[in-house]
Point group: C2
Chain length 156, copies 2
């Protein structure tokens, strides 16, 4: 996908959808993940806090699932934006997660910056399937796949 | 599985494995999920904080994945403990997540207590497959399945 902008995808979400604990710019308690279009991929970096541990020295799997989830939704938004005939710099469409699968390939070490990549695997009119990897020091420790759907007009 | 004790499974983990952000009694920043054996199931309750949102009014999917993950590992530990010929009150064996699959069936409302159930689905010598549901106000909003393996002697 072509890079439209260097603005993180999450900073292009409408204000109403900018409160996500994982990636919302308006959630002061959250992780504020930032995902950038880079060629055919979407890329993010994140350094877990010391308390984000599972067992001492290793990152908590719930955080890794969270990062994969938010990054996958940003990748889906980026794929839609870059495919549009009149691709613009925003606002970004907001996707939500229908399903998430995580394979924890190896323990992920704490104390280093993680690299998170996202790619569009397949899509239909209603959904996009996104693959995500998380790497620490050049080694992929997590592979994930998410099914992203456009946010419904009403959540209830 | 027979209830051995009313002590939460996580409070039976050895001190070295009690730091998990999701469920460790020794992580003052974490969620401190508590899972109890109840008949054939393992049960937990958790009320997300207002900032644990995805979009206003609904729980962040990363938190739901985290709760499912930690509860599944507790369910695996409980299954091993209750199956032992000399079942005791602890310490609980520590399992880690090899894979986690989450289906977000409906948006999960914020502001109410969630009920989390875990059941052993199948097992082999090396792993246990655990199913988890998360319900809000009696409605199942999340179904999850986790593959749990006994923590390796060395994580690296």
């Amino acid at each position: 996908m072509a890079a439209l902008t260097d603005t993180p995808i999450q900073d292009l979400y409408p204000d109403d959808f900018a409160h996500c604990f994982g990636c919302g710019r308006s959630n002061s308690h959250g992780h504020r993940l930032k995902s950038h279009v880079r060629g055919e991929s979407v890329l993010a970096h994140f350094t877990p806090e010391p308390h984000h541990m599972s067992v001492p020295g290793f990152v908590y799997g719930g955080l890794l699932a969270s990062l994969a989830d938010c990054h996958a939704m940003a990748t889906a938004a980026a794929a839609e934006m870059t495919a549009a005939p009149n691709a613009s710099e925003g606002p970004a469409p907001r996707y939500v997660t229908a399903a998430l699968h995580i394979d924890y390939l190896k323990p992920t070490p704490l104390g280093v910056e993680l690299e998170i990549t996202g790619q569009l695997k397949e899509q239909s009119e209603r959904k996009k399937v996104i693959t995500v990897t998380i790497s620490a020091q050049g080694v992929i420790t997590v592979r994930a796949e998410a099914v992203a759907v456009r946010i419904p007009k009403s959540m209830v």
